[in-house]
């Protein structure tokens, strides 16, 4: 009954939760992601060497003033390769996430709102696609289609659609019978109008979080596939591939692994932190991306 009273809780067991330093939690990841986007656009121009040139310096030299991040086994400049590598992974991740999440969310929302047989069938299909772990499904699709940028996008879209559909569906379900939806039906609104004009604005925050989490996951998937050799193909520099190529000299030239690893790590953490800041219940939702 007490609408205005503070939430009931248990101070005896646990202290209260309040969003402290919220602005900072949002600003730092946004700044990092923005920096990476700049890298994707201007990285190649800023690179001191061509990322594919062999013997820009002696192979496997550590960081120097000429080679900030050192050189790899072929004498390629690691700094240039890291800079240039940003473009492919960010571009592919964004495109794949856009396709996968928007298609998945649309399917999930429609399926959730309309219910009935179609919903039942779609969700069984989703179950089957989700029976294989994401990386495995992507691997299988990529082996049958062959590794290329476009196929990478296709594979990741296929991996994302069922997951996003589930999230969007469960976001829509509790809203289905609410007063404003019934009121819309009473004025003769059709299902598409209800789904996209009445319901979608209310789940947009959740979809934004979903997009962020999926984006982080796409970065992770694409770099992992690259590491396994099924992603972006040489000679285009790819962070994942750089690490797997450098794997064998890690004991003599750790920088060849360290800097690309750092490049991936920072952006994935930043996007995750962004999703976390966007959603108050980030922890619960984050779990759905496993």
């Amino acid at each position: 009954m007490n609408a205005r009273a503070a939430p009931v809780g248990v101070e005896v067991l646990a202290p209260p939760v309040f969003g402290r330093r919220y602005g900072l939690r949002l600003a730092v990841p946004v700044a990092i992601v923005a920096f990476y986007l700049l890298l994707a656009v201007f990285g190649p121009m800023a690179a001191p060497y061509s990322p594919t040139d062999f013997n820009t310096g002696p192979p496997l030299t550590g960081p120097t003033q000429l080679h900030f991040f050192g050189t790899d086994g072929y004498g390629r400049d690691v700094f240039s390769r890291v800079l240039v590598g940003a473009r492919s992974i960010l571009l592919l991740s964004i495109v794949a996430t856009l396709f996968g999440v928007s298609a998945g969310c649309a399917i999930g929302m429609i399926s959730g709102y309309r219910g009935g047989f179609v919903d039942e069938a779609l969700m069984r299909l989703v179950d089957i696609l989700l029976a294989l772990p994401g990386l495995l499904l992507a691997l299988l699709i990529l082996t049958s289609l062959g590794p290329s940028g476009v196929n990478l996008v296709i594979a990741i879209t296929i991996v994302f659609v069922p997951k996003s559909a589930r999230i969007a569906r469960s976001a829509i379900l509790p809203l289905r019978g609410l007063g404003y939806v019934e009121a819309a039906r009473l004025r003769g609104a059709r299902w598409y109008s209800i789904v996209f004009r009445e319901l979608m604005p209310n789940v947009l925050p959740e979809l934004a979080v979903e997009f962020c989490l999926r984006f982080a996951y796409a970065l992770l998937l694409i770099s992992s596939l690259g590491f396994l050799g099924f992603g972006v193909q040489p000679p285009t520099p790819d962070w994942g591939l750089m690490i797997s190529e450098a794997r064998n000299y890690v004991s003599i030239a750790p920088w060849t692994v360290f800097f690309p690893a750092l490049a991936i790590g920072i952006v994935v953490v930043a996007v995750n932190a962004l999703a976390d800041a966007l959603s108050s219940t980030g922890e619960r939702r984050a779990a759905q991306y496993l």
Binding site: V10, P16, L132, G146, F227, F230, S244, L290
Partner: protein, 314 residues
């Protein structure tokens, strides 16, 4: 409960069937001809044709699938085209190695994640909670080859404490094997540890804020009793499904971690098999992973039902 388990097992069988169809159709459009791959470019068309009919490749896809399925149902997974040995024989050691790695990972991550998650929920917004929460954001986000690579740099290259490869030597002592496993297990379980921890923290926090915990406290119950009997059973339920999801995630993690550390398990075999288009072996590996994953989900659902009698009644 029994009816629920039986129904779910039936559903599981159906899902596995659908997955096998899915895998089969994906492998059908694989580029390249298996016979050419086995015999090499110099093979005569005659030899190729003979091998194709030996392997049944000249038959329509549906017949091939039917034969394969019939074999699987009788426990015969077929013959690996690359190794020319029964699939079961090739799989067994890899499966055992991966099982060691994966169970070590889950046995490390699940209890630790649950315990730390509960502690964080009980001390919400304390410095300890902030520290653990910040670390989990990092751990949850990093791909395994990145954390693994960084750990190799730190613990092998710089500190020289642990070997950078695993499962390669032949004559090894137990201590060696264990020290080889430490880095791969850590790399494999860091992500899932973070997820389990975060889920446990969120769900325990929600339970701590619930009316029934308040009511239990106002009955004058001991703090410990409230946590053990009123908070934990309700809070662990949702976390169980995250543990099951973690097992699916670990399948992907195995592929990465085993490739990174050169560990002779299922994941590395999978990459090899894909490169060599060994379809019988690929089918079997994918099916095993799907089956383990589905079983994990089923166990989580059963566990949830046992902990919380409300589940499934709505």
């Amino acid at each position: 409960m029994l009816r629920f388990v039986l129904r779910r097992l039936g559903l599981l069988a159906l899902t596995l069937f659908a997955v096998s169809v899915l895998i089969f159709s994906i492998t059908q459009i694989l580029p390249g001809d298996v016979a050419t791959m086995i015999l090499g470019m110099q093979a005569t068309p005659q030899d190729l044709a003979t091998l194709r009919s030996q392997l049944g490749l000249d038959q329509p896809a549906i017949v091939q699938y039917g034969k394969w399925l019939g074999g699987v149902l009788q426990g015969d997974l077929g013959v690996s085209t690359r190794f020319q040995r029964p699939v079961t024989e090739v799989l067994a050691p890899a499966l055992r190695n991966s099982a060691v790695l994966a169970s070590a990972g889950i046995l490390f991550a699940a209890p630790l994640g649950l315990a730390l998650g509960l502690i964080c929920a009980l001390r919400r917004n304390s410095p300890l909670d902030y520290a653990i929460s910040s670390v989990t954001i990092f751990a949850a986000a990093m791909p395994e080859f990145v954390t693994g690579g960084l750990m190799i740099i730190v613990f092998s290259t710089w500190l020289g404490w642990l070997p950078p490869f695993a499962g390669t030597g032949s004559a090894r002592t137990l201590a060696q094997s264990v020290s080889e496993l430490i880095l791969p297990v850590l790399a494999l379980s860091l992500v899932i540890l973070a997820y389990i921890l975060r889920m446990m923290r969120a769900s325990a926090a929600e339970v701590l804020d619930s009316s029934f915990v308040k009511a239990a406290l106002l009955k004058g119950l001991d703090r410990r009793r409230v946590i053990a009997f009123h908070v934990l059973p309700v809070a662990i339920g949702p976390t169980l499904s995250v543990i099951a999801l973690s097992i699916g995630w670990m399948a992907g993690g195995l592929v990465i971690v085993e490739s990174l550390f050169g560990y002779p398990g299922l994941g590395r075999l999978l990459v090899f098999v894909i490169r060599n288009r060994d379809i019988p072996l690929l089918q079997s590996i994918a099916l095993i992973i799907a089956a383990v994953y589905a079983m994990a989900n089923l166990c989580a659902d059963i566990g949830q039902r046992m902990l919380d009698p409300r589940v499934g009644t709505k």
